[in-house]
C-alpha cells in the first residue's frame, strides 16, 4: 500500500509470515468458493443423480443399503458400525444435497490451501494462465493418476480394503505431485526422476478386490467414472485459474505500477 516507488527486491509485505499466511488463506478461500460452487452445481446435475440411481440397485436407501452383502461397498462391516446401530445420515433430497455441497466447498478449500501453498513454495510469477497450468497439474495428481488404479467407484461396487485403497490413493497423489514438481525442474535428470516417480505407484499396482462386480450395471459405473473425472477437471481448472488470478491481483496491490 504505502510503498515508495523504489521497487527493491525486498517486497516488504511478503517477508512477513502473518501477511503471507493471510494472503494464502484469502486467495485459497476465494478460489475454493468459485470452484466449490461450480463443482457442487455440476455434482447436483451430473454425478449425484448417477449415485442415487446406483443406490436403487443396492435395494434401498443409502443408510440401509446392502445389509449382509459382505463384499459390497456399502456393507455395514465396512462402515464399522455394529448391526442395528446406524449412524446419522442426511435424508434424501434437500438435506443430502446441502451436505454434499458443503462437503464439496470444504474439500475445495483444503485443496486450494495446498495448491496456493505449493505455488508460493515454488515462487516465480503467477497469474490466471499460470494458475490454469497449476490446476491442470493438480487434476493430473489428485484425480487422473489415482483414477488409473482406482477408478471413481459407485456405491455398491466391489472393492478391496478401504485402508489399502486410501493408502494407494495417497501414494499415487504424492508420487504424481512430486513427479510433476521434479519434471518442472532444470535438468533432464530431475525430469527423468519425475517420470519414474509418476510411474512408480502403477508399477506397485492399486489394491483390487479378488473379483470385480457390483450392484449397479457396468454401463452406469463407466458413466460415473468418466463423469467424475470430467467434474474433477472443471474443479481443478477453476481452482487453479481463480487462485492464480487472485494472487496476481494481490501482487499488483502491493507493488507500485
Amino acid at each position: 500500500m504505502r510503498r515508495t516507488t523504489r521497487a527493491t527486491r525486498s517486497a516488504i509485505p511478503v517477508t512477513d509470515g502473518a501477511v503471507v499466511f493471510r494472503r494464502i488463506f484469502a486467495s485459497a478461500l476465494i478460489a475454493a468458493l468459485a470452484a466449490g460452487i461450480v463443482t457442487a452445481t455440476l455434482q447436483a446435475c451430473v454425478t449425484t443423480p448417477i449415485i442415487v440411481e446406483a443406490e436403487r440397485y443396492e435395494g434401498g436407501d443409502h443408510a440401509a443399503a446392502a445389509e449382509g452383502l459382505l463384499l459390497l461397498v456399502h456393507s455395514s462391516d465396512a462402515h464399522g458400525a455394529p448391526d442395528g446401530a446406524q449412524a446419522w445420515a442426511p435424508s434424501d433430497g434437500f438435506e443430502r444435497s446441502f451436505y454434499t455441497a458443503t462437503a464439496t466447498l470444504v474439500t475445495a478449500f483444503g485443496w486450494a490451501l495446498l495448491l496456493v501453498a505449493a505455488m508460493s513454495l515454488r515462487g516465480g510469477p503467477i497469474d490466471m494462465r499460470r494458475g490454469l497450468v497449476w490446476g491442470a497439474c493438480g487434476f493430473a495428481a489428485a484425480a487422473l493418476a489415482p483414477a488409473l488404479g482406482l477408478p471413481p467407484e459407485l456405491p455398491g461396487a466391489m472393492a478391496a480394503d478401504l485402508g489399502a485403497r486410501q493408502a494407494w490413493w495417497l501414494l499415487a497423489f504424492l508420487a504424481t505431485a512430486a513427479g510433476i514438481w521434479a519434471m518442472a525442474g532444470r535438468t533432464v535428470w530431475t525430469a527423468a526422476g519425475g517420470v519414474l516417480l509418476i510411474i512408480l505407484p502403477h508399477l506397485l499396482g492399486a489394491p483390487h478386490p479378488e473379483r470385480f462386480g457390483g450392484a449397479a450395471p457396468p454401463e452406469l459405473a463407466a458413466h460415473f467414472a468418466t463423469a467424475s473425472l470430467a467434474v474433477a477437471a472443471v474443479f481443478w481448472l477453476v481452482l487453479g485459474g481463480v487462485a492464480g488470478a487472485v494472487l496476481a491481483r494481490f501482487d499488483r496491490m502491493e507493488r507500485p505500477a
Binding site: 449412524a87 458443503t102 464439496t104 483444503g110 515462487g123 490413493w169
Partner: protein, 61 residues
C-alpha cells in the same frame, strides 16, 4: 536495476525463506481440512460427505 516481474507469488529467495513457516502452516491446515472432508472414517463425517467423496473419486467405504 532489475525490475520485479509484474506478479510473482514470492519475489525473492530471501522472502521465500521468511515465508516458509507461513507456507507450511497453510499446507498443514489444508491437509487437516482435506482429511476431515475426504478421508476420515467417522460415520457421521462419512455420511455427510458421501456423495462428494464418490464424485471426486476418493476411496469411500
Amino acid at each position: 536495476m532489475t525490475t520485479i516481474p509484474a506478479s510473482s507469488a514470492l519475489s525473492a529467495a530471501s522472502g521465500r525463506a521468511a515465508a516458509l513457516p507461513a507456507i507450511l502452516a497453510a499446507l498443514m491446515l489444508g491437509i487437516v481440512v482435506l482429511y476431515g472432508a475426504g478421508f476420515a472414517g467417522a460415520d457421521v463425517l462419512h455420511n455427510a460427505a458421501h456423495d462428494t467423496r464418490h464424485a471426486l473419486g476418493y476411496p469411500c467405504h
